[in-house]
Amino acid sequence: MLFGFPLLSLVIWLPIVVGLIVLAIGSDRNILLTRWLSLIGSIAGFIVAIPLYTRFDPTLSSMQFVEQYVWFERLNVYYHIGIDGISMPLILLNCFITPLIVIAGWEVIRERVSQYLGAFLIMSGIVNGVFSSLDAVLFYTFWEASLIPMFIIIGVWGGPNRVYAAIKFFLYTLLGSLLMLIALIYLYHVSNGSFSILDYHQLPLPMMPQIFIFIAFLLAFAVKVPMWPVHTWLPDAHVEAPTGGSVVLAAILLKLGGYGFLRFSLPIAPDASIYLADMMILLSLVAVVYIGLVALMQQDMKKLIAYSSVSHMGFVTLGFFLLNDLGIEGAMVQMISHGFISGAMFLCVGVLYDRLHSRQIADYGGVVNKMPVFAAFFMLFAMANAGLPGTSGFVGEFMVIMGSIEVSFWYAFFAALTLILGAAYTLWMYKRVIFGAIANANVEGLEDISKREFLLLAILAVAVLWLGVYPFPLTEIMHATVDNLLLHMTHSKL
C-alpha cells in the first residue's frame, strides 16, 4: 500500500465501476457519451496503474502493494491482493491494451455499444484482479468471472458461427477451471483451512498429491494458454470474435494461463514440476513445431494468427519448464511481447475486415498499392511476429532458445525451428495479401487507414520496437522474483 492508499484495488475496481456506469447508460442514443466515457475510463485505468511500475521496488522478491481484509470468515477467505515482478508487467500490459480496444471499436461497433464497451472495461478490471489475487477463492472468482464478458462478446458481436465458438470457449475453459477448483479445495483441506496462495507455496506435500495437483492445475492453465492438444477452442473463438475480442483474447486472456504456471504449478508442486518438466517441454515443442506447420496451411488470416499464437505460447511454456532464469524471464518477455504483436496483428486483420468483410487470404492481393501506410505497419508487425531482431518478438524467443541450449541441444534446435516456420507462415501470408497486382475490384476500392487506426497501430509499433531495442526495464522488474522462484524450487517439499 502506498501512504495507506489502496492503489492496487483502484487498478482493479476503477475499470469495473466505469464499465458498470457505461452499461447503465444502456441505449444506443447516447452513443458518443458511451464511447468517450469508456475511453476516459480506460485511460484513467492505465494512468492509475503507472505508479505500480514507478513505485515498484525491483530488488524485492516479496509481494508489494499488499492489501488484506477479511472477506468471509466462514471459510477463512481473505480479500488479499499484492503483486510481484511476475504479475506487475502483466497488469500493465492489460491496462495498456484496454484503451486500444476502446479505440479499435470506435466506429466499428454500432449496435449495443454500451454493452460492448462495458463488457471490455469490466473484463479489464477482472483480469487485473486475477493477476493480483493472493487468495485462492478470490483468484478463482476473478478467473471464472473473466469468462462471462468474453462469452457475451464472442456470442453477441461475433461472426456467423459465433454461438458454437462462444459455448465451446466457455465450456472448454470451465472444464479446466473446475479441476483447478478441486485442487484448491484439496489444498484448503491439507493446509488446515487456509486459502492463501502464499501459504500453499510453503506447504509440504508428498509426491503423489503433488502430481495430482500439478495435473489439475495443468488442465486449467493448459486450456487457457492454450497448449497442444487442448488448443482447439482458440482458432474457433478467434475467428468468430469481433476484432476487439480477438485482441483481448490473444493479448491478455492467454497470459492468464502462463501466469498460472508461475503462481501455482511451479511453486506449489515444485517436485512434480521438475519430475514432469520433460513432458511439458515435449508438449511445448509439439505446439511450437506442429502448430507452426498447421499455421502455414491456413486460408483465413485470423485463423493463421490464432495458430501462430498457439505456437508462440508454446515458447512460453517451454521457457517456464526449462527451469532456469533465462528460460523463465525469456518466457515472460515473450508473453508481454506476444501481447503487443498478436494484438497488433489482429488489429491489422480487423482493419482489412472492416473494409471488405472478408478474412480470406485469397480475397486480397496488392493491398500495398492502395494502402501504403497500412502496409508499412503490417510489415513491421509481421516481421516482429516472425522474430526479427530489433523487435520485441526476437528478445523473448532468443532468451528462451539460449535457456534451452543450457538444458539440451535438441530442445534448442526444435525451438529455433520456429524462427523459420514463423517467418514462413507470416511472411507468406503478408506477401499474398499485400504484394502483387491488385487482385480484384474490392481491393481497388480500398482506402488507407484513418487517423484513428494510425494512432492505434503507431502506439503498438512504438511498444514493439521499444521492447525489442531496450528490454532492460522489463527484465529488471522480474529478475528478483524469478530468482526467488527458482531458489524456492530447489528446496524439495516432499
Binding site: 471464472e144 479441476l179 479445495i185
Partner: protein, 481 residues
C-alpha cells in the same frame, strides 16, 4: 390428577398462522369478486405477523413443548423466517399471473398458508409423529394447489401423479418409522440416539426402517430414483404453483432431513451416509444430463432442482457442523435462485400466453435488457460461476465433502456440474445471441419489477458478500446441535 396446560410460547407463530388461515377463508367468503385483494393482503399480514412472532421468540436455547413433540431452536427459527420470506415473495410474484388465469381467489391463499403451516410444523418437529403431521399438511395442500386450475388437463394429470406417488412415499415413510418404533420403542428424536447407543436393539430392523425413511425423504427432496414426479408436476402445474412447490418446501425438506436423520438417527450416520452417496451421485448425474434434452423451461428447471438436491445431499454426507451448515447455505441459495427464475417466467407469461418453452427466452436482451441481465445472473448462479451465490454454495458443500474424505465424490460432483453448465448457458445464448420471436412488450408491475430486481441483485451481492448468510447457517446449526 392435575392437568397442566402445555407451554404455548414456542408455538406462537404456528398458532397465529392457523388463526389467520381461518380468517382468510372466512373473509374470502364474505367479500365480493372485486375485493379479492383483501385475501392477498391478509395473507401477507399473516406471514409478517408470524415472522414478528418468530423473531421475538428467537433465542439461542432449545425449548421443547407439547410433551417434547415440538421444538423451537435457532435452526427452526432461521428456517421459518426463510420460509415466510419465500412465501411472501411467491405471493407477490404470482399476483398478476394468477389474476390473469382466474385463480386469484381465497383458495390459493388459504392453501399456500396451510402449506406454510405444514412446513413450520415439519421444521419444528421433535417427534416422528409431528414430523409426519406437518408433512401431510404440506403435501395435501400442495396436491390441491397443483390441481387448482380445474380446466387444465395437464394440471389435473400432474396433481394425480403427485398425489399417487406422494401417498406412496408417505406410506414408505410411515412404514420406516414404525420399524424404528418397533426396534427402539420410541419416536422422540431426542431419545432415539440414547436408545440406539445403548446397543440393546436389533440393528437389522433399524437399518430396514432407515431404508424406508430415506426413500421417503428422497421423494420429498426429489432425489433420484424418487424424482419422477418432479418434471411432470413442474410442467403441469400453473407456474405460480410450480414456484411454490419448487422453493419453500425445500427449506422444510432440509429441516425434515435434519430432524429425521441427524437429530433422530444420528447414531446411524454411517448407515445413511452410504445410501445418500448413491442418491446424491444419481441425482447430480440424472438431473444434469437429462436437463440438456429438455425444451420446456419448467421441465428443465425441474431437472436442475434434482441436481441441486444432489449437492444438498453432499453436505449431509459430509456430516458434522461444517457439512450441515453448508447444506443449509446451499438450500437458501437454491431457493433464492429458484424464486428469481420462476419469477421471470411468470413475468414473461401474459394473459393467454404461457411462457413454457426455452425458445420463449429468445432475444430477451433486445426486448428487456434488465430482465435478461437478471436471468443471466440467475443462470450463472445455478451453473456455479463466481461471483454469483451459487458458486459459494457449491464451494462450501464441496469443501465439506472433501474435508470428510470424499475426494472422488467431489470430483464427480464437479464434473457433473460442468455438464450442467451447458444448459444454463443455452438460456443465456437464447437471450443474448438470438433474435426475438415475439415483439410483445414486457411491462411487469412496478412492485414485481422492484422485487425481481432485488432478487437478481441479491444473487450477485450475496455472492460477493457471502459471510452473512454463511455465518447465519453455521450459527443456526451450531446452536441447535
Amino acid at each position: 390428577m392435575d392437568f397442566l396446560p402445555p407451554d404455548f410460547t414456542p408455538a406462537y407463530p404456528e398458532i397465529f398462522l392457523l388463526v389467520m388461515v381461518c380468517v382468510v377463508m372466512l373473509v374470502d367468503l364474505l367479500v365480493g369478486e372485486k375485493s379479492r385483494y383483501v385475501a392477498f393482503f391478509l395473507a401477507q399480514f399473516a406471514l409478517i405477523g408470524s415472522a414478528v412472532l418468530t423473531f421475538t421468540t428467537f433465542s439461542t436455547d432449545i425449548s421443547y413443548t407439547f410433551s417434547d413433540m415440538f421444538v423451537d431452536d435457532p435452526m427452526s427459527d432461521t428456517l421459518k423466517l426463510m420460509v415466510y420470506a419465500t412465501v411472501a415473495v411467491i405471493l407477490i410474484y404470482s399476483r398478476t399471473y394468477i389474476d390473469a388465469r382466474g385463480m386469484f381467489k381465497g383458495e390459493f391463499f388459504s392453501l399456500t398458508l396451510f402449506a406454510t403451516l405444514g412446513m413450520m410444523v415439519m421444521i419444528s418437529a421433535s417427534h416422528f409423529m409431528t414430523l409426519y403431521l406437518g408433512l401431510e399438511l404440506l403435501s395435501l395442500s400442495l396436491y390441491a394447489l397443483v390441481a387448482l386450475q380445474r380446466d387444465s388437463t395437464a394440471a389435473t394429470e400432474a396433481a394425480m401423479k403427485f398425489f399417487v406417488l406422494g401417498a406412496l412415499a408417505s406410506g414408505f415413510l410411515l412404514y420406516g418409522m414404525s420399524m424404528v418404533y418397533g426396534a427402539t420403542g420410541s419416536l422422540h428424536t431426542a431419545q432415539l440416539s440414547g436408545i440406539i447407543q445403548s446397543g440393546a436393539i436389533d440393528h437389522a430392523v433399524l437399518v430396514v426402517g432407515l431404508v424406508f425413511i430415506v426413500a421417503g425423504i428422497s421423494f420429498k427432496l426429489s432425489a433420484v430414483p424418487f424424482h419422477m414426479w418432479a418434471p411432470d408436476v413442474y410442467q403441469g402445474a400453473p407456474t405460480a404453483v410450480t414456484l411454490f412447490v419448487g422453493s419453500a418446501p425445500k427449506l422444510a425438506a432440509f429441516g425434515f432431513v435434519m430432524r429425521l436423520l441427524v437429530d433422530g438417527l444420528g447414531e446411524m450416520v454411517t448407515d445413511w451416509q452410504g445410501m445418500l452417496v448413491i442418491l446424491a451421485v444419481a441425482s447430480m448425474a440424472v438431473g444434469n444430463i437429462v436437463a440438456i434434452a429438455q425444451t420446456n423451461i419448467k421441465r428443465m428447471l425441474a431437472y436442475s432442482t434434482i441436481s441441486h438436491m444432489g449437492f444438498v445431499l453432499l453436505g449431509f454426507i459430509a456430516a458434522g457442523e461444517n457439512g450441515y451448515s453448508s447444506s443449509l447455505f446451499y438450500v437458501i441459495a437454491y431457493v433464492l435462485m429458484t424464486l428469481g427464475a420462476f419469477g421471470i417466467i411468470m413475468i414473461l407469461s401474459r394473459e393467454g400466453f404461457e411462457c413454457e418453452n426455452i425458445s420463449d427466452f429468445k432475444g430477451l436482451n433486445q426486448r428487456n435488457p434488465w430482465l435478461a441481465l437478471i436471468m443471466m445472473f440467475l443462470m450463472l448462479s445455478m451453473a456455479g460461476i463466481p461471483p454469483m451465490i451459487g458458486f459459494y454454495a457449491k464451494l462450501s458443500v464441496l469443501q465439506a465433502a472433501l474435508s470428510a474424505g470424499y475426494v472422488w465424490l467431489t470430483v464427480i460432483a464437479v464434473m457433473l456440474s460442468l455438464i450442467g453448465a451447458f444448459y444454463y448457458l443455452r438460456i443465456i445464448k437464447l437471450m443474448y445471441f438470438d433474435a426475438p420471436e415475439s415483439e410483445a412488450p414486457i411491462f411487469p408491475e412496478p412492485d414485481i419489477k422492484a422485487l425481481i430486481s432485488i432478487n437478481g441483485i441479491a444473487v450477485i451481492a450475496l455472492g460477493i458478500f457471502p459471510q452473512a448468510l454463511m455465518g447465519l447457517s453455521l450459527y443456526a446449526i451450531q446452536q441447535s446441535m
